[in-house]
Symmetry: C2
Subunit: 201 residues, 2 copies
Amino acid sequence: MTAQHGTAPGTRRRSEASRRAILTAAFELVGEVGYAKLSIEGIAARAGVGKQTIYRWWPSKGAVLFDAFLMLSEGTGDSPALPDTGDLEADLKAVLRATVAELNSPRYDEPMRALSTEILHDPALAAAYAERLDGPMKELKKQRLRSAQRAGQLSGDLDLDVAIEMLWGPLLNRWLQRSGPLTPEYADAVVETALNGLRPR
Amino acid sequence: MTAQHGTAPGTRRRSEASRRAILTAAFELVGEVGYAKLSIEGIAARAGVGKQTIYRWWPSKGAVLFDAFLMLSEGTGDSPALPDTGDLEADLKAVLRATVAELNSPRYDEPMRALSTEILHDPALAAAYAERLDGPMKELKKQRLRSAQRAGQLSGDLDLDVAIEMLWGPLLNRWLQRSGPLTPEYADAVVETALNGLRPR
DNA sequence: CTGTCAAGACGGATCGTCTCGTCTCGCTTC
DNA sequence: GAAGCGAGACGAGACGATCCGTCTTGACAG
């Protein structure tokens, strides 16, 4: 699992209980003490586990955090598709507002900031993130945009990757840098501006 | 200086030589050993300075890094305004391509990632960044966009903050997450897509 | 004489490695 | 299929190293 981490030795005898305890402990701890004070020793203690059990299965603190998110996202069963009511603007606003709500949620704020930090400094982890966590979600977004494209609501020669990053990039950035209030109204403004473009119509 | 850091005690006797040595050492060191291995002890040793001299004037590693950037940006004399040839699309492409080049530059990559990390976890530092480093640059961008607005090249009721984040957000995000190649062509695509909007015209 | 400086000692925290003795699993043997 | 065996993961924690942030020293400058 975890792309390249977490399954090195003979996996047969691995304790699933310890694995889960470590991942939950990591997620909870980072939310409580913050990224700076998150230590492997702390995770091991909280999980009731020897340090070696962590070092045996994960190459870095970031990899543990990553797997913790992976476990969570598998728990919530990966919503099969984005809403498609035919009203692209309304659907996009709903989804971006949900993103805003998640980014603002105290439960996820610190853990996501911690994971972002690790991704920021570890290209291998960034690749794993792109493949396992961001990738599937991005595919859902593309599906919705393709559907809109078929309905003639989006420009036919649109690069969907660019479109997605133009919609979500501003939110992510405002969250990361705290460069302004991250509100549902902001999400709406981004959707409207992106759809209509900066030029007068 | 530095908004709230760096000038606490009686500033009169402060050694400018030590200050500069510390900031240059910090910037160079983080580029060499990476953010994870950047230590105050290392900075002090490289700068030929006592640790206390750092702890006396800066509250955190992030504040040192921030001041290092501040020193650099003051060195390059804050370009007075963005190009304004009348061709908005060309001007924006030129500026975004310059941003791409800077983000891709090996000299700045690690230091900027380190500063981003500190900003990510320190709201006070984020505020200082917004005020002292990002703010002035953002004002220049707004000036250029206002000029275009007057020329009727941009929608009159445009929220310029949203516009700016829609242009730069995708670049920043792709750099942070390494979610794709950060090329001049990508910058061009962002500009074109943002100006025209996602809808067919 | 007061405050900054370079240098570095200090206790505490965490790192990553290692060594224990225990426990669990899967295979063999009867 | 029950009993025994061996490999490997397990919890626990000792270990030297590094870095933290504070504190002390003596030199020096205003």
